[in-house]
């Protein structure tokens, strides 16, 4: 069996599962946030009763992150709905905006806070829940109804996915990042190239990647339609997880002879910086082919492009240079935000590098402009802006305005583009 099949078999309490089987699995973690949490709670109460109790208080994690810094009344009400529910149920894992416990973007916060453990089954009311597969867990996005069901029962009926195996070998060239690797793959297989499948990543390239970079890859599995992205745990994973939780965990691994639907091999040593042009993540081009396209805004942030290492990459390019276009920096979490002060290049903090380069005032952690949102959302587009962004989706209207155009790229490419004001290959800086 593959790692995905083994985790699901364990969750179902059976020895063997096969792709296509419909099985009930026990849920280790249910993640929700301010956009889908209130609806999930509404369904939970409608179906199980106003006085119902959640199946396991320890297994529900609520991380508000979408509409935090907005005056929108309904958005504020929705966070209040979460607060009331947490108080009523006595839930221990709630990261409340406006308090010291506030974290930021849930997919970055979830592993940071020790809620992701190898071998476990995680469901979240957000499609980018697949991010957590980077630590050897089965993790996928669901809707409010399924989440409300899990809240009451602790189980979910799911279909075992077939696996697509991606073997990446070779040394990643300078100024190429995990974002280039995954945009390249999505460009090859298409936005529905992995529909209903598990995307399993392995090979010497993956072994050499940091946990954060692995998260960037698994985060975008959904952009190829996958059910989950997954990378088997290794020593790096164990070190990361054990630093964050005392809970025991049981990593699982694909058998050498596990059957997969297809296997793809990549030699990454010759890879060039990649961009996804408007309006789909599979609209792949080399950055060089788009070189010279003028942009109005560069956005560095989100669950896939707003981690500390993403800002490190951007700062490497920006140090000692000035931006030529409006540049927005949105750390994903409080931890990342603090890291901007404590992480240094040539003795200078990342924050200082960005400020000297002339970026807009650094925003507090949240999903912000990545998905548009209320009209006062930081970084949201309102007109015909051309944006180069380290986020994960470039659909029409994704960042707010239907008329704006979004190019997706790595933090290196984003920083190089910020300096020049037009799309620029980071190797040309």
């Amino acid at each position: 069996m593959t790692i995905t099949e083994k985790i699901l078999a364990k969750g179902a309490g059976v020895n063997v599962v096969n792709p296509g089987d419909n099985i009930w699995v026990n849920v280790d973690v249910l993640l929700t946030h301010d956009v889908c949490g209130p609806g999930t709670i509404g369904i939970f109460k409608r179906e199980f009763g106003a006085d119902a109790k959640v199946f396991d208080r320890e297994k529900i994690v609520i991380i508000p992150d979408h509409y935090i810094y907005t005056a929108d009344e309904k958005a504020r009400r929705n966070v209040d709905t979460l607060r009331d529910f947490v108080a009523e149920q006595g839930l221990p894992y709630f990261y409340d905006p406006g308090t010291d416990s506030y974290c930021g973007v849930c997919h970055v916060a979830l592993p940071e806070l020790g809620h992701v453990r190898p071998g476990e089954i995680i469901f979240g009311t957000d499609s980018h829940t697949c991010t957590a597969g980077a630590l050897g867990a089965f993790s996928t996005g669901i809707g409010n109804t399924d989440a409300g069901f899990i809240m009451g029962v602790g189980k979910l009926l799911i279909k075992v996915p077939e696996t697509l195996r991606f073997v990446l070998d070779g040394v990643v060239p300078e100024y190429i990042s995990a974002k280039d690797l995954i945009l390249n793959i999505i460009g090859d297989i298409g936005v529905d190239g992995a529909t209903y499948c598990a995307m399993e990543f392995s090979g010497t390239t993956i072994d050499a990647l940091s946990i954060e970079e692995r998260c960037t890859i698994c985060n975008m599995a959904i952009e190829a339609g996958a059910k989950n992205g997954i990378i088997a745990a290794d020593e790096k994973t164990f070190e990361y997880v054990k630093a964050r939780t005392d809970k025991p965990f049981y990593p699982l691994y694909s058998d050498a002879d596990a059957k997969v639907k297809a296997e793809y091999h990549y030699d990454v040593s010759q890879l060039e910086p990649i961009v996804a042009k408007p309006h789909l993540p599979d609209n792949k081009a080399l950055v060089r082919e788009c070189s010279g396209i003028k942009v109005d805004q560069v956005y560095i942030g989100s669950c896939t492009g707003g981690k500390l290492e993403d800002f490190y990459m951007a700062a490497k390019i920006m140090q000692g240079r000035e931006v030529g276009v409006r540049t927005l920096i949105v750390p994903a979490t409080r931890y990342v935000e603090k890291g901007l002060d404590t992480t240094k290049i040539n003795g200078q903090s990342l924050r200082s590098i960005f400020e000297e380069a002339g970026v807009e005032p650094i925003a507090p952690p949240s999903c912000a402009g990545c998905l548009g949102g209320p009209s006062d959302t930081f970084g949201r587009t309102h007109g015909e802006e051309v944006v180069l962004s380290t986020t994960n989706r470039n659909f029409v209207g994704r960042m707010g305005s239907k008329k704006s155009q979004i190019y997706l790229a790595s933090p290196y490419t984003a920083a190089a583009t910020a300096i020049k004001g037009y799309i620029t290959d980071p190797r040309d800086i």
């Binding site: 929108d72 309904k74 929705n78 409010n144 029962v153 009926l157 936005v191 529905d192 529909t195």
Partner: protein, 182 residues
């Protein structure tokens, strides 16, 4: 044949990769679907993300749609897990989507909520219909008929999810099989 297994009316035709931001833009995700007033509002914003030039979808004066059937191409509903997407269509009065293929979470949410039937066509029906054409879907017989000339197109059977669809959603199904009580 029972009337509830037939869906009849004008179709609204879309193409490939209809994403969840087109189905319900993120600025409306502050609406909570389990609050009845906000459920209705979501319906009025269904497909509000389509670019200019498209016929307004929820064009009835009460915020609902004159189109009970939406026809799409490949990968319908890609993107976000927002359940607001199938709910917006259902709240607008759409009964079924007929597409060549679906993004997984949208399909799942459609089935789990029971808001709309996510039906799969064998042919590329977005090239066979235009917005406003009258159609008739037979849920049991797995067909969609173009009323103007009577041409019948076959649909794929629902397969493993059929019992959940027939029960009317995830909770109804779980009660039927005794997974939850009451």
């Amino acid at each position: 044949m029972s009337q509830k297994n037939m869906i009849k009316g004008p179709v609204y035709v879309l193409q490939d990769n209809i994403d969840t931001d087109l189905l319900i833009p993120a600025c409306y995700l502050n609406l909570v679907p389990t609050i009845p007033e906000e459920y209705r509002k979501l319906g009025s914003y269904a497909l509000a993300g389509l670019p200019e030039g498209f016929t307004k979808f929820a064009s009835n004066s009460d915020g609902t749609t004159p189109y009970p059937i939406v026809i799409g191409g490949r990968n319908f509903g890609c993107g976000s897990s927002r359940e607001h997407a199938p709910i917006a269509l259902g709240a607008a009065g759409t009964k079924a989507v007929v597409a060549e293929s679906y993004a997984r979470i949208f399909f799942r949410n459609s089935v789990a909520t029971g808001e709309i039937y996510p039906l799969e066509s064998n042919e590329r029906l977005c090239d066979c219909f235009k917005t406003g054409d009258e159609a008739e879907i037979d849920i049991i017989g797995n067909t969609i008929t173009r009323v103007s000339d009577g041409k019948v197109f076959t649909l794929k059977p629902a397969g493993a999810v059929a019992p959940v669809i027939e029960a009317g959603g995830m909770f109804a199904y779980a009660r039927e099989i005794g997974m939850i009580k009451g």
